[in-house]
Symmetry: C2
Subunit: 142 residues, 2 copies
């Protein structure tokens, strides 16, 4: 029999577009940590496993604190794993409303630098060894 | 004689470009709350009053928690004051490195919707009554 927490997690339904555009890396305390299917930038996404959330302030105060902690932990690990010039963190949701937070490693001269990544050009798929190499470094830094 | 806290705050030096592009609304516990000089979107910015910070994870754990609390409080007030379709929250800093967090009210059909606001077109100044009307509603919601 599942306990309350497992039930709560298994009831979570990930938006279909987020599922299509990213792969699961691991599950943190609150969030799914996912990697975007776009090799142009090392681009991660945190999705709080709570149904019906749109804005960060829709979360309970505890979940807001957890989201901030997990976002900042992932951002620091991404900086360490990639040596990024700057980490970009953003919760937009203009297209997909399910609450999700982007964490992206940026480098001088990368596509659309110093502009934002959202809505720029077309995704370029990873080759699998490149993705695994990045994720290995990320997990070590986490 | 100033106490420690006043000294600490008065030692804070705001980046010149952030100062040029925005006006102070009020000072929260950690952050300056500022309004961008761009009437195309209701666009606020929080700047933690700590020198030398670039990434959110450069802040102490307490300041990270304060920043999350103040950001989410401002985002909720901005939603209430404007009836925004979606609030966009982002910490990019690719151009100005001093840590600052954008909080923007977005509406279907607004300039560059559903894309991001950063780097899009040219700022359109407020007329003063329009700005005061917005800030009055914002302060009431805060």
């Amino acid at each position: 029999m599942k306990n309350k927490r497992e039930e709560s997690l298994s009831d979570f339904e990930l938006d279909g577009r987020l599922a299509r555009d990213s792969d699961l890396v691991t599950v943190l305390g609150l969030c799914q940590l996912r990697i975007l299917k776009d090799s142009r930038w090392p681009w991660l996404m945190l999705v709080p496993q709570r149904n019906g959330m749109v804005e960060i302030f829709d979360l309970t105060p505890l979940d807001q604190a957890l989201l901030a902690f997990e976002t900042n932990t992932v951002a620091a690990a991404l900086k360490e794993a990639t040596g990024a010039t700057k980490v970009n963190v953003g919760a937009l949701g203009n297209i997909v409303r399910q609450l999700h937070v982007h964490v992206i490693a940026r480098f001088e001269g990368d596509p659309n630098w110093p502009g934002p990544v959202w809505g720029f050009g077309q995704a370029v798929p990873y080759d699998e060894p490149q993705k695994q190499d990045f994720l290995k470094k990320l997990i070590e830094a986490l």
